[in-house]
Each structure stands twice: as C-alpha cells, then as structure tokens.
C-alpha cells in the first residue's frame, strides 16, 4: 500500500474542525479545507443516514446573498431557471452557465424575501463569486456570508430531530426555506439536501455551530457523517457532483439536468449558451449523463472508459460501491443512442471489461417530503 496524498500547505480549517477531531473524524484536504472523510466508517455512516439521521458539516460551501432592485432578473442572465417567479420561502436548483452554455457550477437559489440566497460548491466558490460579480450589474450587492456555516441533517428521522430544536422545521416541505431563531441566533433553514433522503440544510452563525451540532448529536437518532458517505449517498440518489459529473464543457441537457431549465426560459432564452442548450433540448444532445448498474463486485470508478464492443463510447465520471444497493454503481457519459435504460455496455477497469447496464436514476428512491402530512 502506498499513499500519495499531497496536502496543500494553505489548507484552511472550518469552524467545526476541533469538533470533528473530537468526534473521531478522519480529516482530509477537500476544496481547500480540512474536512472529515469518515468517523466510524463510510458503510455504517451511509446506512445510518438511510435509516436514521446524519449530520454533515458542509461549511466549505459558499453562501452568497444577492440584494438590490432586480436581483432575480439580473441573475437570470447567468442561469436558466425562472428566478423572478420564485416566491419568498421557495428554493430552486439551478446552474451557473458560462458563455457557451457549459456548466460553471450547480447551485441552490432561495428567495429569502429581502434577498436571494445562493449556495455554491466549495471547490469553485471563489470562481463563482468572481464570475457573478463581473457579470451582475454594479447596483446588485453581492455578499459572501463567511460568518455563517452550513450544516445538513439528512435521513428519515431528520425532521423529528430538528423540530426539537427548531419547531418551524416541521412546517417546511421539500425545497422550502424559512428563517428561524435558535438560542438567540438568527438561522436559515431549508428542507433540502444531497442524499435523496428527507432532510434540512441549516445556515448558522459560525459561533453557534458547535453548540448546535452538539445539541443534534446528543439525540440518539443523530450521528455525524463524513464526506465519504455524502458521496456514496448522492451517487445512489443520482445527483451529480460538480467537477466530476459536471464541468464547464458540459451543458444542462448533456448533464441530464434539463429539468433545471424553466418553461418560460425555454420559450424566451436569454441565458448563456441558449442557442446550444435549446438546440439540444429540441434535438437531443450528442452525449448524455446516465446511470450504470455494474455486474459483479468490481467497483467501476471515475475515469473508467466505456465501450460498446471494441468501440470506446464514453467515460465514467463517478462510481463506487453503493452500500444501499449492495453492488457497484456508476454514472458517466454515453452517446445519445446508448443512453436508453437497459442498454448493455462495458467499462474498462485495469484492462478488464466489466459489463454494465444503463439504468434510470435514482438508484435508490428519493424520500423527499413534498406535502405537509405526506
């Protein structure tokens, strides 16, 4: 065994760094921060979230607010979602697009009433902030909310657990957001996440993070969960990871994210790369992101080439063992004519061909709470 981990000297620490270490978190460098990859083990943590509730520290992500007259309309010049129709307390998944329609990041946009809240990926947050600042009108104010951390509580018992601390949580359904107070701290809540389970993301002032995390983890149904399980959970949920399954070469249709292009925007265009993207919507894109069920036990990982017979047709962008499926799964890009579920192809791993079948995603059904009492 040989470990070739290179750690950048400037790796930063998150507000909960000491908390993770005290909980036994194994810290690795990710997106420029020391973050816990696991506590007890990825498999156990993954299964815990599917059955109970898991607490994730995602404070590495960028929390940005936009305010000023016409912020929603201005943002629409850079994303394909109908942001101006987003009602207060509602949130939407969207895509920050480059000039040619390639995806610069995927993000969540919330109408917080007096401002728009945006959560972006940690690994590209500085680029995102630069791009937004450069491309938004000067009278739109952009704040990088660095005084706030972000926690995610995910799993079927998340709502019950969180409601003990913040009763308003129960009133939200999937993709709704609200402001609340906890122990005198102003916090933001949304019913959303990255695991396919019901759950919440909670934005709190940095100084409140440790006490809040302790209060949650004192409950028997809540355990801290590391980045490793976050990755296997989102893979099973069919959710792409920016920088792996999506990048600036891939447009929303290729990325199988056409749902993020709102009806009005399809009719009106007016977002970067609209000609390419609307063309792909009408005619299909030459390649598409698909799920892959892998035959056997050998994990097929990012970078594995995909074949139809002897013809190389595509590449795997994420893959690994799926604890809730009990088998390896993957996602990757294949030509349009190979994208139908059931299509038999093969992945190449260390010179061996591993049979795979194109599969509809998610691999594990989503358990979002879309209606009150539902």
């Amino acid at each position: 065994m040989r470990e070739d981990e290179e750690v950048a000297v400037e790796t930063a620490t998150l507000p909960l760094d000491a908390w993770h270490r005290a909980k036994g978190g194994r810290m690795v460098e990710f997106a420029g921060y020391w973050m816990p990859i696991q506590y007890d083990g990825i498999m156990a943590e993954h299964l815990w979230v599917r059955e109970n509730a898991g607490l994730f520290d995602v404070s590495h992500m960028g929390q940005i607010s936009l305010s000023g007259e016409g912020a929603a309309e201005a943002l629409e010049a850079l994303v394909p979602g109908d942001i101006s129709a987003l009602k207060p307390g509602r949130m939407r998944y969207s895509l920050l697009l480059g000039e040619d329609g390639g995806i610069l990041d995927d993000l969540m946009i919330t109408n917080e009433g007096d401002q728009l809240g945006i959560v972006v990926n940690g690994a590209v947050k500085w680029e995102d902030i630069g791009y937004l600042r450069e491309n938004l009108p000067d009278d739109i104010t952009l704040n990088h909310e660095e005084d706030y951390g972000l926690l995610a509580l995910q799993g079927p018992k998340a709502a019950e657990a969180l409601a003990r601390l913040v009763p308003q949580a129960s009133a939200l359904v999937f993709m709704q957001a609200a402001r609340a107070t906890w122990n005198g701290h102003a916090i933001g809540l949304s019913r959303s996440g990255y695991t396919g389970e019901d759950g919440f993301e909670i934005s709190l002032p940095n100084e409140a993070l440790t006490a809040f995390a302790d209060a949650l983890c004192a409950m028997e149904e809540v355990e801290p969960i590391g980045l490793g399980a976050r990755d296997s959970l989102r893979l099973e949920a069919g959710l792409p990871l920016y920088g792996h399954d999506l990048d600036e070469e891939i447009d929303p249709v290729e990325g199988d994210l056409a749902f993020a292009i709102s009806k009005r925007r399809r009719e009106e265009g007016g977002f970067p790369g609209a000609a390419r993207i609307l063309g792909h919507l009408a005619d299909g894109s030459p390649r598409k992101r698909v799920g892959l069920l892998v035959e056997g036990k050998l994990p097929v990982r990012e970078g594995a080439k995909l074949f139809d017979g002897n013809t190389e047709i595509g590449i795997v962008t994420s893959g690994g063992f799926a604890p809730s499926v009990g088998a390896p799964i993957a996602m990757g890009y294949v030509p349009r004519d190979h994208a139908a579920p059931g299509t038999a192809i093969a992945a190449e791993v260390r010179g061996k061909r591993v049979p795979c079948t194109v599969a509809a995603m998610p691999f594990v059904p989503h358990n979002y709470v879309r209606k009150q009492g539902g």
Binding site: M1, G41, I42, D231, K297, L298, G320, F321, P323
Partner: protein, 123 residues
C-alpha cells in the same frame, strides 16, 4: 515463523521458501470498508515494489505491492466472495497471496514487528 513488515503496510510470513503476504491491521483501518480484492494469478512473476494486488474500499482503489521477488503460488480465493475478511482478520484469514522467495536476502530490508510499530506511530 518470522513475520516481516514493509513500509507499504504489507505483512510477510515466511515458511521455508514460501511467503504469505497480506496488508496490516493498520492498513485496513486506514482503508475502511473493503468491498473488492483482486489477487494475482498463480504463476504471476512479481518483483519487489511492483504491483501485486488491488484492494478497493468504498472510497478508492489502492495498490498492494510485492514485498520481494518471486512467483505467485496461490491467491486467496476466499477474498473474492468475502472481501470484508481483510477488515475482520487482516493478518490471518484475510491474507492476499502466497509466493516463492527468489532472493531471501531481500527479507533483510524489511521491518520486524517492533520496528513496524514504531514506523506506524511516527506516521
């Protein structure tokens, strides 16, 4: 039967001219849940420091290197069915492969248990 250790976290049991190779308890702990092990084919010629096997955890694939020169006499077929043996019994039932020892003097470059413990403590 003397047991040797490598800086790549393999253990090597020597019985006459045959060495049994696996990864250490420290290594399995670092890797986490093992979901797949690829052992070398019988007859494969290995050279010290070269690729010999692959161990895959949920998170990543890691190479296992040959501790010495030799020819593989047997791979642990049990690991195909039950790769988690590497987690539960890394230095016993979870062995990876057996090989001949082409040059016994290569063992002199490996660590004993005490030296390996010190090596791990310093990591």
């Amino acid at each position: 039967m003397p047991r040797y250790y490598t800086e790549e976290h393999e253990w090597v049991d020597v019985d006459g001219d045959i060495a049994t190779v696996g990864i250490t308890d420290f290594a399995q702990g670092q890797l986490g849940d093992i979901v797949f092990v690829e052992v070398p084919d019988t007859g494969a010629e290995l050279s010290a420091g070269g690729d010999a096997a692959v161990v895959e955890s949920v998170k990543a694939a890691s190479d296992v290197y040959a501790p010495v020169d030799g020819v593989v006499t047997e791979g642990n077929g049990q690991l195909e069915e039950d790769p988690a043996l590497v987690n539960s019994d890394p230095e016993g039932e979870g062995w990876f492969f057996r090989m001949t020892l082409s040059d016994k003097s290569q063992l002199e470059g490996l660590m004993n248990a005490a030296a390996y413990k010190t090596f791990c403590d310093d990591l």
